[in-house]
Amino acid sequence: MTISKILFSTLAVSALAMAAPATAKIVTGSNVSDMTVTDSNGVQHNLSDFAGKKVVLEWTNEGCPYVKKHYTTNNMQKTQAMAEAEGAVWLSVISSAPGKQGYKTGEQANEWKDAQGAEVTAIVLDPAGDMGKTFAAKTTPHMYIIDEEQTLVYQGAIDDNRSANPATVEGANNYVVAAMDDLKAGNAVAESDTAPYGCSIKYQS
């Protein structure tokens, strides 16, 4: 099955995104329902199952210094707790291919989750990179927020300090928190599209 077929069968995005290659960015405002993924416990989720809830996607890679920056400082866990408090679903996605940095089996992923104290709904295992390429995820971390209507309302960086230095978390503007606050207040997300930063995702190809 080619990437373009996956695109067609699993993701109803705008016609423009359809015509573009599989690695092209998806447009903020696209509908992203109907995509089936498998988590670290072998449970299948379809994005449409979460209709009516906000969904936060976080691309992650344990070995990446930028991911470490946000976990060692507890910044990512705090953001997860904030999202959970607002009733959002949080999916951490690992798109590292087997043998590459950050790849995890289901068991390893669960151990890592416990060790980090990560408060996530599920860890999605995407070793083939299908979900990553569908969302055109490029970095770890790379963040996406989907609203109750299954519309993509935010994509990009976690915050505005593009450094790997843990000291820079303090004082940075957390885009995910800001977007969730905008949504909570009933407003459109002000910063809906930012440049992600971090390590490249370790795709198969």
């Binding site: 423009l16 015509a19 573009a20 290659p21 599989a22 690695t23 092209a24 960015k25 903020t28 070995g63 990446c64 210094p65 930028y66 590459k100 940095q101 990179g129 390429k133 490029k138 970095t139 990009g156 593009r162 450094s163 790997a164 230095n165 809906s192 599209d193 930012t194 440049a195 992600p196 930063y197 971090g198 390590c199 490249s200 995702i201 370790k202 795709y203 198969q204 190809s205």
Partner: protein, 687 residues
């Protein structure tokens, strides 16, 4: 690590009282040091200090815009009083792809020079100690943030350059892009961003690339398609999120290109919303090196000569050769007269063709060589004519007897009219064929002003008629022709069969142009011909009248044949390809797929041979699948202005034409008319 030890040893050996290199720092995958252009500097002087980084094999660091991921090299200076530092003169970045992600960065030994200025009040004899805290993310398959600190003492006093490091720093500065003369504009239309550039320096821009300073303007991982214009260059790619709001201010960045094998770059500021006029797009012409009037004329002359040997012409020519042989032992003056009349027939027919072409062109029609075969009426008429000639050669009938005027044996009569019309017929049957050298000349002629068109076509006519003129004028050639005898009758009869074969081929072409109705009408017309012959053999007025009626029917029937649009794209289906259109090409290019385009026609013999022997073979099909190459077919069997226009763009007036678009450039490569698997493979693989 190994690089560190080597660097450290060199440093130890070279370390003088005041070094112009700091102690190298091994940060893991990178060995970094500060190097200075000067051992000591005079008060008020400007000089350079560079962060010199030696990267382990295969590792890279990042440019000021790191691309899809990563982080730029970062430098922080701790400076004493009286010294000031400028910005980094960034080296030229390169796109570094990792899977679907593209980064902008450096490998090897990048230098990051910074200009320093010493205050005029600095005291000679004092020492300035420059300290740099540096940080960089270094990546291969994984990423490691590394940092370190280096200090470099510099004496104030006399200005003393360090020849070694100054050379290296100067080279880095020379390679670092500066603001040149290049003007630029950037516009977004739909899901396409077009960047246009003018006033370019010399160099090869076929692989030009624009690196923006900012993220969010263009997709870093999307190809930038190059179109070269007479006055500039444009790059098209996809927009990023910053376009969602109105863009303000110019888009700054670096345009890289090739200059004699060296990567060069220039800073450009793109005006938002401006599309610069880059002049007419330069597309590769079929004839590399450029066709001039003279090469076109010579090409036409030789091409015309070779045309005599083409399968469509050879039988007709043979008939003439026969009549020459017949009179070979007659008077030379008679032969000369015949040769000239034949030439006149050829020239007059070419002239008529040229005038029709010019007239149609002036009327706005897009036509090319072989255009008359796009009319099914002409194809039907030619098929019937060849059938008649075949019958005649077989001796089924002789012209002359009853009906005067209509029935002169025009081609065989060794009179004035006979020679003239043999020339005319030869030209008419020659048009489906293209001889080597002709394609370029004819393409050139049709794109040129009317007088040039005329000159080239007349050269073609002269070349075509040349064999007979040579026989008539070169002494000795005539006596080389075989002596007339009974063998001539046999030979004449044999020639009937190529005529029938040609008629069958034309009927097949017609089946593709006009469907089964066209075939029915044509075969019926042939029946009428046979009837006419049979009637004329009868005596009495009724027979003659019915014969004349049949002749009229045979003439009228082909005129009723019309093109059938449904069957026009037969080649598309045969080749399991997609139908060509400019918009489809643009779409596929946007997807970054390589494209092979086959411009073909049912009446084009070369096209059919290439399709059967190369394009339809499984190795080519596999190649297309493996490289994800789109196979497009433009079928020119029937008239199609869009295809004619596209052919003209590449300096061609006819088919076949084979184009390959790889995903680096908007302009395709033109493949030779004789295809092979290797030629196609290389063109697709070409970066």
């Amino acid at each position: 690590m190994r690089t560190f030890i080597v660097t450290f040893l060199i440093w130890l050996l070279a370390f003088p009282a005041f070094a112009s290199q700091s102690v190298p720092v091994d940060t893991g995958k990178v060995t970094a040091s500060l190097v200075s252009s000067h051992d000591s500097v005079a008060p008020g002087e400007e000089f350079y200090i560079a962060l010199r980084t030696v990267l382990d094999e295969g590792w890279h660091t990042y440019w000021r815009n790191p691309g899809d991921s990563g982080e730029p090299v970062y430098l922080e200076w701790v400076l004493p009083e009286g010294v000031s530092a400028g910005d980094i003169a960034w080296p030229l970045p390169r796109p570094i792809p990792t899977g679907p992600i593209v980064n902008y960065g450096f490998e090897g030994t990048p230098l990051f020079p910074v200009k320093f200025t010493v205050s005029p009040d600095a005291e000679p004899g004092s020492v300035i100690t420059v300290v740099a805290n540096f940080y960089y993310l270094v990546c291969k398959d994984v990423c490691i943030p590394e940092q370190g600190s280096a200090s470099l003492p510099i004496a104030v006093g006399e200005s003393v350059e360090d020849m070694g490091w100054k050379t290296e720093i100067d080279a880095a500065l020379a390679a670092s892009p500066i603001r040149g003369t290049v003007q630029g504009g950037i516009t977004k239309t739909g899901e396409t961003v077009e960047m246009s550039f003018k006033d370019l320096p010399g160099g090869d821009f076929s692989k030009a690339y624009f690196f923006p300073y900012e993220q969010g303007i263009i997709g870093h991982s999307q190809p930038q398609l190059v179109t070269r214009g007479a006055d500039g260059l444009s790059l098209t790619t996809t927009p990023e999120y910053l376009w969602e709001d109105p863009m303000s201010g110019p888009v700054d960045g670096v345009l890289t290109y090739d200059d004699g094998g060296t990567l060069k770059g220039t800073q450009v500021s793109l005006a938002v919303g401006q599309s610069l006029d880059i002049g007419a797009a330069i597309v590769p012409k079929a004839n590399v090196g450029g066709v001039t009037l003279w090469t076109a004329i010579i090409g036409a002359l030789i091409g015309g000569l070779i045309l005599n040997l083409m399968p469509c012409v050879f039988p007709v020519i043979s008939i003439k050769a026969l009549s020459i042989a017949k009179s070979a032992h007659g008077e030379r003056s008679v032969i000369r007269r015949e040769a000239w009349l034949y030439t006149a027939g050829v020239m007059a027919t070419f002239l008529l063709l040229t005038l029709i072409i010019l007239g149609l062109k002036a009327g706005g029609a897009e036509i090319g060589w072989g255009f008359q075969l796009q009319s099914p009426k002409v194809v039907a008429a030619l098929a019937i004519l060849l059938f008649v000639i075949g019958l005649n050669l077989l001796g089924a009938f002789e012209f002359g007897g009853g009906l005067q005027n209509t029935g002169q044996d025009l081609t065989r009569k060794s009179g004035a009219a006979g020679s003239f019309f043999t020339g005319a017929l030869a030209v008419i049957v020659a048009t489906p064929c293209t001889a080597p050298l002709m394609a370029g000349a004819v393409g050139y002629a049709l794109a040129a002003p009317a007088l040039v068109t005329l000159a080239v076509f007349m050269a073609l006519a002269i070349g075509f008629a040349l064999p007979f003129l040579l026989i008539a004028y070169v002494p000795g050639l005539l006596s080389k022709l075989p002596k007339p005898g009974p063998w001539m009758v046999r030979f004449k009869e044999i020639l009937a069969f190529p005529m029938f074969a040609a008629a069958i081929w034309l009927t097949w072409v017609l089946s593709l142009q006009a469907g089964e109705d066209g075939v029915l009408v044509t075969l019926s017309a042939m029946l009428a011909v046979a009837l006419a012959i049979w009637f004329f053999k009868r005596t009495g007025m009724l027979g003659k009248a019915l014969g004349a009626l049949s002749v009229l029917a045979a003439i009228a029937m082909p005129l009723s044949v019309t093109a059938n649009a449904v069957v026009g794209d037969i080649a598309v289906k045969e080749l399991k390809a997609e139908k060509w259109s400019p918009s489809r090409v643009a779409e596929l290019q946007a997807q970054g797929r390589p494209i092979f385009v086959d411009f073909t026609a049912a009446w084009c013999v070369t096209c059919k041979v290439n399709e059967k022997l190369v394009l339809n073979k499984s190795n080519v099909q596999t190649l297309f699948e493996e490289t994800n190459t789109a196979f497009l077919v433009a079928d020119w069997t029937n008239k199609n202005d869009m295809i004619a226009e596209e052919l003209a763009k590449y300096g061609r007036a006819g088919v076949p034409l084979y184009l390959v678009y790889n995903n680096k450039s908007v302009s395709p490569a033109i493949l030779p008319q004789v295809l092979t698997y290797g030629v196609i493979r290389d063109a697709i693989a070409e970066e």
